[in-house]
Symmetry: C2
């Protein structure tokens, strides 16, 4: 009765046979592995589970498992149980299983051999995360009565959370919108995908080049033709945009990704003007606007849009933490009505439990406090990174995009990023190439590196820079 | 410095003027509302926030707010602060604001007037949810060191969780796969969308008709032509499938959605044979396979697939709870390699925090226990629903699809679902029409209703049926 039976392991065991039961079980499992029915890495049931299932003693099952371990068909790892070894490794077996397992274990831990200073963009510093407050908000959310945090929830997203987001956008980004213009999605890529599916976006979309490859890939995978719009030092080249037969353009005006420029207010007006004259649409990705370190705060492009021509994208990935997987779309009123109708057969992709926790977190003022705290912290880190680079590398490098955000680009004059990354890695530092953000990879200067500093503390940042200097300029 | 400034509310207040400051503030906000800058439902800053921002006393701000409240530009709701009223409501203002607000409050609570027994498909019974164990697993996940539960995580999904899923599939569904064939997604619709984007699926896709409209919509919104394949009483009409020029078909063999049949083993073999002969692909959506109440457990179609022609879709929405927003794709090895390459620019859409919590939940045996417990519980509910219908409605109705799952269809002979739903609602019962699952809505018998019983307890199920009987057959 029921599907609880272990359909997979169902040996026919003959208790009358001269062959001991453990041996029959061992032969059966070995056969399943060799024929490929039990594939590599498959985890086997625990002693308890299998002995209960087959109504055998634990001893019998254990003896069978031990023989399979000894012969190298299985391996045992702490906390993750017994698993089928890949066949190619089985042929290598000739020593004690125990010693081999240990070797493997240490090998698997060395996937990133000795990375001590990881300049990966998108990392968050664990030590500064408001874990206690977040824990409380999450527990409060779990205590909520009703289906609110167990069911599918509002397809558009929790209404009260959308109210909090609307208030936040008004206070911090100058964007005035009603909660019913806001739609949640489990990441900006899901948001872009929904815009393609539901609005739908036109077949040609203009995009900053270089620009965020995550969005470009999603657009292309929805059959959209990408029209690359080149950049100037202060962002989008508007003349180039005007010459293209596109009416929709994706931009990152607060902090161009990945080059880091901030679109000046004159260009913002001109971009809006372009949209009004062409009945065009602007998709504004405001991904890390919270972190701007120089000059006056600049409101979002959306805040200047009197003509309802801006689709605004926000995310909690940078301002809070990526694992919450929560982004949102703000649509002009008319499009919001169309979109709301269109997503009726869709389930909301953000967990209602996390939505409720985020609502608590915002409502209790933690979110605002967190952003203010992180802005100061990131500013300090940002300054230290820039200072360290200037101090240790001097004229041999140039920093690109240093007004805002959680990353910058480094131009290491006359050097090649592949070589630089390899050399840095030998000293325990992981740097990255931004090449995949260029539409035509050959146009990315090979001397560019991308350094994200969100996940490193101040000491680590300086030490990382020193090590890169040693790795690259050991003359 | 920084974006913390409230960009939105920035009145120019003249302290030398004869007009009191509160009045100037009041006029400014009123103007912002009437010109549409502050839109309906926008939430205003709290007294504390605004007084700090404008460097005014709380009294001044409060007086301005009170006047706006009194004149009906704003409304106040418990716990959600002050908000801009819709303009059309403002014109109605003529009495005291307090009394109107109360009226509105009670009105908003009556969106579902008096629904006591909601037969909504997808609901979960809160009382039976293993809240304590889940809470512990979530807290343990939060205690995890490193970026694991803060960052973006593995694009494919947490590797250890995928191991647990592989083990589960092997034990419970007879599916043998390696963890690297498994890909997580924040819902089955996201999974289907990714298959369209990344594999990609061909331009024509066969689909059971009637079939799950959530998947159909996503396929169509990715430009796929849906080829409806009719059903017989025991599921997909294979002759009809063979006559169509399609090579990919979406099916729900464990429990046809929404008609409820279980595809017999002979038909499964024939379906696989069709795929092998046509180099076709079968997308098997195994959405509620855990809950089967009659006969022997039937392994997934994927378990019978020796030719790597089945793409398997699983979800935790039915077996655990929808708000976890966690589904997964199991791909044949070759496709898995292609897919893994294709999703490299994608972020994982399931929260790594919830992934880790789910890993803990499965590893500690809670998931297996939960499913066993819920299978018994749902079986009891299922029996009570069927018994109650037989007992109270007798020959006047027919039950469709009663071997499995969390819902069934009711054919109320010679009646119209619209009228039945309206009458039931008057007695506090919410029933649903399955009409949107038919490709051509006119083909859905108008006498069909859909009853989901997951969210109701045993007493509520019987009482709900009694009330429907009274509502429909009050002769």
């Amino acid at each position: 009765m029921g599907c609880g039976k272990m359909i997979g392991l169902s040996p026919i065991l003959d208790k009358q046979s001269d062959i001991p039961i453990y041996k029959q079980l061992y032969s059966y499992i070995k056969q399943e592995i060799l024929t490929g029915t039990l594939r590599e890495n498959t985890r086997l049931p625990s002693l308890r589970q299998l002995s209960a299932h087959l109504m055998l003693s634990k001893n019998t099952v254990e003896t069978a498992y031990q023989q399979l371990l000894a012969e190298g068909y299985l391996q045992s790892r702490p906390r993750s149980g017994l698993r089928v070894l890949p066949l190619e490794r089985m042929t290598l077996v000739n020593g004690s299983v125990a010693s081999r397992s240990k070797e493997e274990l240490s090998h698997s831990r060395l996937d990133k051999p000795g990375v001590l200073y990881d300049f990966q963009y998108g990392n968050v510093e664990l030590a500064k995360f408001p874990m206690k407050a977040w824990k409380k908000c999450l527990l409060d959310a779990l205590g909520t009565e009703g289906y609110e945090v167990l069911g599918y929830g509002d397809p558009q997203g929790n209404e009260q959370l959308r109210e909090e987001i609307a208030l936040y956008l008004y206070q911090f980004r100058g964007v005035s919108c009603a909660p019913n213009q806001i739609f949640l999605a489990s990441g900006t890529q899901i948001a872009i995908s929904l815009l393609c599916q539901v609005l739908p976006l036109p077949s040609r979309v203009g995009m900053e080049d270089p620009g965020y490859d995550g969005v470009r890939t999603v657009l292309m995978n929805h059959g959209r033709e990408i029209v690359p719009i080149p950049l100037e030092s202060d962002g989008l080249n508007l003349d180039a945009l005007r010459q293209q037969a596109v009416r929709t353009v994706y931009v990152t005006p607060s902090h161009q990704f990945p080059l880091g420029s901030v679109l000046p207010v004159q260009k913002r007006s001109q971009l809006l003007q372009w949209a009004y004259e062409n009945e065009g649409m602007i998709i504004e990705d405001d991904y890390d606007s919270e972190f701007r370190y120089q000059g006056q705060p600049i409101p979002a492009l959306k805040a200047m849009d009197g003509g309802d021509r801006v689709i605004y994208l926000g995310t909690f990935s940078k301002s809070f933490f990526p694992a919450v997987r929560m982004s949102y779309i703000v649509l002009p009123e008319k499009l919001a009505a169309v979109f709301r109708q269109g997503i009726r057969p869709y389930s909301q992709s953000v967990s209602p439990l996390l939505q409720k926790a985020m609502l608590n977190f915002m409502r209790d003022g933690h979110y605002e406090r967190h952003i203010r705290k992180m802005r100061k912290l990131y500013q300090t880190k940002h300054q230290i990174l820039i200072k360290s680079i200037h101090h240790h590398m001097g004229e041999r490098v140039e920093i690109i995009g240093q007004k805002a955000g959680l990353h910058l680009l480094l131009d290491v004059h006359n050097r090649d990023s592949g070589e630089l990354i390899a050399r840095a890695l030998e000293r325990g530092v992981k740097a990255y190439s931004p090449i995949h953000h260029w539409m035509d990879a050959s146009l990315c200067p090979s001397s560019y590196l991308m350094l994200g500093f969100g996940g490193l503390n101040e000491g680590q940042i300086e030490e990382g820079v020193i090590r890169m200097k040693q790795a690259w300029f050991s003359d």
